[in-house]
Each structure stands twice: as C-alpha cells, then as structure tokens.
C-alpha cells in the first residue's frame, strides 16, 4: 500500500528528471519540446482555472457576501455593506447557532470514537475469511449505497413515535425524532450505521494489501493475534489510517443529509451545514447571513485541513 496516490501525489513530478538528473534543473526544462511545453502548460492551466473558478472564487465570494445583507433580489450594485453585523447576529441573537456547533463537534467525536474503530474492527473480522464474509460485507456496505431519501424513510419507519418499529418492539413511547435530548443520538446511530460500512470497506481494501509474510513472521516469533495487529499490521497501514481519519473528519464536518431529511436540522438536530442551507437556499434567501454561517464553517474546516496538511508535509520531509 506504500504507493497510494494520496500520499504519493507530489512524488509523481520528479521522474522525468531522473533521466536528465546530472544536467541540473535549468537544463532539464530546455530538453522539453515545444509540444511538451504546450501540453504541460495546458495541464497546469486547465485544472488551475477550474479550481479557481469553482473553488476559490465561490469561497471568496462567500466571504465577501457575508459582509452584506443581500437578499437575492435586485442588481449586485444595490448590495449594502453591513460589516460584521451578520457575524454579530449569528453569535448573539441566532439561537440555533450554539447547538449547531455543539452537534458538529459531537458528531465528530461519535464517529471518531465509536463508528470508525467499529468499522475497522469489522474489517479485521471480515479479513479472516469467515464463512459468508461476502454476505456480511454486502450487508454492512448496503447503507452506503442506499439513496438518501430511502435512508430517511427507513429510519422514519423505525423511529416514528406512534407507528415506529422501535417503540413497538420495546413497548416504549420514546419520541425518538422529536425529543431534542434523544434525537441527536438516534440520528448519530443512523449516521454511524452508514459510516461503519464506509470505513469497513476502505480498511478491508487496505488489509488485503498487507504482505502475508509479515504476519507469518510475527506468528513465528510467537506474537499473539492482538499484538500482531497493533504492532505489525496497524503501523504498516499508516497511509490507510490517515485516509480513514481524513474521511471521518470530512464526514462529520459535512454531515447534513440525514438531519435535513429528518427535520431540516431543527429542534435538537442543528448542524452548521443545515443552517447554511436553510438560510441561503429556497425562498428565505438570507444570502448575507447564510454566507456568514458558511464562512464560519469554512474557518472550522480550515483548522482541520491545516492540521492534516501539516502532518502530511512533515511526513514527506522525513
């Protein structure tokens, strides 16, 4: 698994230099023919333009709009600059904001502490070639494949207070979706249900790539199953571990779909992404205010992105 593209991406550039290495950097470029240069320029420019147009400009526009009170009506020239008022409103007079931050962090913690390790555990089990492991694999991965609308519907059938499966089985009257102290856990369970399958598949693919001779050597040295995993297999899977970690962080920051399907991210299920959508999309059109929320989300994401890049770059330098 050492040649995983994510970690290796920047090493893909040097190879052409290998043949011309002795001549030094300046010479190398001149060796490229005119066509090569055109091709390279295009290969750099086209993705660059796409990234600028589709990622950087919208992101900067969001930050710019967050200082305005635009409601989506009228020409851009009519937009009034309101400074930091939107941020002030978000923090001071918008009640769903506090719970949203809490829920996003809770989401991250739950996926990181429970769902991700459990998915990895299942992958290790399935790697043992149990009887019917393909069936389990499919069953566990199914939630990831199912469409969102269907998942929302499935859980509605289970969690409904009056007509749901869960209350019928337990004989309780718990209001799984409506009680704000309960519903976040109910939804986290559903989110974890999906996340476990995803992590399991990722990790299983990694485990399949581990050189069996490493395990045999550990077994010959008298290492137990558990210590073989933690001392040999887990360290070897470092690139996969990083991917799993990144996927977990991304999934919890962009968590949105389930709560949106359930109750549009209200009443105990507030998430920043859902608040952004509720404010910007649709008839509400509080574009300035929604952009302020989106910018806050961007800043939170940047913290994690920076941490990740920092780790990966330090890794490469070594």
């Amino acid at each position: 698994m050492s040649d995983l593209p994510l970690v290796q991406a920047d090493r893909a550039v040097p190879p052409p230099a290998a043949t011309t290495a002795p001549r030094g950097r300046g010479r190398r470029l001149r060796l490229l023919s005119g066509t090569d240069r055109v091709v390279i320029t295009l290969m750099v420019l086209v993705p660059l333009l796409l990234v600028v147009a589709l990622v950087w400009l919208p992101a900067l526009a969001t930050v710019a709009l967050s200082g305005t009170n635009w409601d989506g009506i009228g020409p851009l020239a009519d937009i009034d600059w309101v400074g930091l008022k939107n941020y002030d409103d978000v923090v001071n007079i918008y009640p769903p904001f506090g719970p949203a931050i809490q829920n996003n962090l809770l989401w991250l913690a739950a996926l990181f502490v429970v769902a991700t390790p459990f998915g990895m555990f299942l992958a290790v089990l399935l790697d043992k070639e149990l009887r019917g492991s393909r069936f389990y694999q499919t069953a566990l991965y199914l939630p990831v494949v199912l469409s969102l609308a269907l998942i929302g519907f499935v859980w509605q059938l289970i969690y409904s207070r009056d007509q749901g499966l869960l209350n019928a089985l337990l004989g309780t009257q718990t209001d799984w979706y409506g009680d704000p102290n309960v519903n976040i856990w109910a939804v986290l369970f559903a989110a974890g249900w999906r996340h476990v399958g995803y992590i399991m598949l990722l990790y299983l693919a990694g485990l399949k790539g581990v050189d069996p001779s490493l395990r045999e050597a550990a077994a010959v040295d008298g290492s137990s199953e558990v210590s073989t995993f933690f001392r040999v297999v887990f360290p070897v899977l470092r690139p996969i571990n990083i991917i799993v970690l990144v996927v977990t962080v991304i999934e919890s920051l962009r968590a949105f779909d389930l709560v949106w399907v359930i109750n549009k991210g209200r009443n105990g299920l507030e998430l920043i992404s859902a608040l952004v959508t509720a404010n910007v999309v649709g008839e509400a059109s509080r574009i300035g205010f929604g952009s302020a929320l989106a910018t806050i989300m961007l800043v939170v994401s940047l913290v994690f992105i920076t941490l990740y890049l920092f780790t990966v770059m330090r890794e490469d330098r070594r």
Partner: protein
Amino acid sequence: MSRPRTEAEYLARLVPPSVAGLNRRSLLAGAAGAGALLGTGLLAGCGDSDSDSGAGSKTVSVGSNASDPTPKDVLAKLAAGFQSKSGVTVNINTVDHNTFQENINNYLQGKPDDVFTWFAGYRMRFFAAKGLAGDVSDVWGKLSGFSDAFKKASTGDDGKQYFVPASYYPWAVFYRKSVWQQRGYQVPKTLDDFNSLGAQMKKDGLNPIAFADKDGWPAMGTFDILNLRINGYQFHVDLMAGKEAWTSDKVKKVFDTWAGLLPLHQPDSLGRTWQEAAQSLQQKKSGMYLLGLFVAQQFNENEQDDIDFFTFPEIDSTIGAKALDAPIDGYMMARKPKSEANAKKLLEYIGGVDAANIMVKGDPGTLVANTGGDTSGYTALKKKAAELVGSATEIAQFLDRDTRPDFASTVMIPALQQFIKDPKDISGLLTSIENQKKSIFTS
C-alpha cells in the same frame, strides 16, 4: 401519501407548496434535482418560444406551478376555454411546484411569463412593491363574485390589485361526527367551553387535540388562529409585517393562552408528522385537530362524510370569531408582459364564472374563489368550508405567506418548536424573536 384515494388526491392538491413542499421535499428529495433541471429547461424554452411573438400578437404565456396531474389538466382546460373565447393561444410552461417557489426570485427578475401562478399574502405584496408584478386593478373592475375579503387579499400596499384568486382552503378544527355523537360532545363557542371539552375528552381517554410539528409549519396555524382571536386581524397583519413588537403584552398573551392549551395537545409533537396526527384523528384516538381542509386526505373514502369541523371558538367577545386562515392560490401578471392586453384578458377570464365552473368540474377538491361558480358538485364538507370562508370578515393567508419567508422559516419555525419544547420561558423566547425580527426587517 399513505392512503391514495381519489378524493384524498384531490384534497392533497389543495395543500399550498409552502405547506406540502416541506413534506414532499423530504420524501422526493431525489426527484427535486430532476425537477430543477426540467424546470430550468422549461423556463429557458419559454424565453425562446416567446421571442417571436411581438406586440399585438395572438399568444400569451403562463408560468405554472401546477405540476400535479389534476391541476395541470384544469389549467389546460382553462387555456382551451380562453382560446376558444378570445382566439388567443395560451402557452403554458409548467415547472415543478417546489422548484417554482424556490426559484421565484430569479424567475421574476429574469424573463417571466406574462401571467404566473402565485399566492395571496405578504410575498405577493412584496413583489408588487418591488415592481416585479403588474397592476391588474382594471381587471378587478370587470370581475364579480368575489367577497371583500378576497379583494383585500389581492391588494398590494399601494391599494392597487396585483392578484386574481382562483382557489383556497380554510383552516379549522376538524373532528369525527361519529365520535362526537357517541360521546355527546358539543361544538364549543368560547375558550372556556373549548377547555372543558378538552378536559372531558381527556377523561374519556382521548387526546383532546391532535398535534404535530416535526416539519415546523403546522404550529404556525395554531399561533395564527390564537393571535387572530385574541388580538384581531389588523394586529396580526401588522405583527407579520414587522410593525408590532413581539415583546408586547398582546403577543405574550397569545403564548400564555397557548401554554394553557398545550396540556390538551397530543404530547411529543415535535417528532410527529401532520399525517400521523391526522391518522390519530382518523383512528378515533384524538378528539379534534386544527388543520387545513387537506386533513381529509388521511381519511378513507367511506369516512369522508364523517368529517366535520368548526371554526376556532371566540376568545375575546370584542374581537369575535370571524377571522381565519384560508390560503388563497391564484394568478399574477409579470411587470412587463409581452402582451399586456392578452395577459389582462386571460386574468379576467380566469377570475370569471366560466373558469370557476371549469375548476369545479375539473378538480372537485378545489374550493373555487369566485362565488358565482356552480358549486352543486361540492361535498357537504366542502360546502360548509366554502360557507365558513364566505362568512369570514377577514382572511389571513397563514404565517409563512403573511410574513417575510426568511423570517418565517429561519426564525419562527425554530422559535415555535422551542416554545412547544419549553413553554415556560415565554418572555425570553419573545425577546429572541424580537431581536431577530429587528435584524431581518431592517436589512
């Protein structure tokens, strides 16, 4: 929905998109994307097809949100009727209901159709004030058969009319006749009667008032009717327009009254959809339910005659019980129609008796706005609903149509859910609403 019957399907179409959308949106989340693509395609198509029809032409275009089969069919019949009468061809551009509503800002600022479907209320007046809709006062001069309440609901802030009503449905307290006869319940005339009826129902093992607010909008109906009964129509409209303070004692009294009624409501409402609450009424587990006429779609065909309703009882005798929520759907004219004469002719036709008759026949679930229409095909329930609205002195359009959409969805929904969760801290809640209202309404 879970029990499709013909009647139920018709009634389902009475649900305004602001209301049905919330639910349909979640169920058909996948379809929405396709709808959006289809919608933009159709809108783009309309621009092209209109470009060849200059002034004095023989065509008029209609932007329609009637994407469900029955209303779509009715509009096609209306278009055919208009064409045979006036010789003007009608091009209908149908867009998915929710997509139409969500894109209305862009739609009206781009190249809208000559005539388009919309709702009465704050949003209509807002578009009129922004100059995004055409004045149709002279069409109203030729219309007859509309009550004053309907005319008031079609009038913009400048006193001119910008809207022609087509159909509507009332909000009222629904119940099953058989249950009430069996238990000997009487329709309450005052809040005290209502309270003691609720207490009696509780004693009889029923949920007195079915209640659901998972989707956030049904509780708005309860707030509306209490505010209309306690403070009257004018205060309600001013409050919705941001002119009155939410922290005032008048609003506080509404929430205090509501807090007193909450123990009679079905518990754990924040996890329940209105369909589930309506089914508890249908299954005779609940005694009554304050909802729109569309509640009937959760009843079987043979139970339709068992549904009855009363308007919410009087709370303050100086205010009475004559105002109610009855959202009105209808048509508006674009600010610069390609052919203003044809657009106005079409609106006049739509507001006329012939069109009303087509609507009654084509869509038996619709209550037709024009009283001149032949309503002999109405069921007893619909006849009574039409009488109720006809006798109303003022008609409100429902909270999310009567105020700014951003205020309704991003402030009022969380606030009402907060109130239902914790009815004790009313003044804290009202302060929070007022702060957000000030920020939104001054921006």
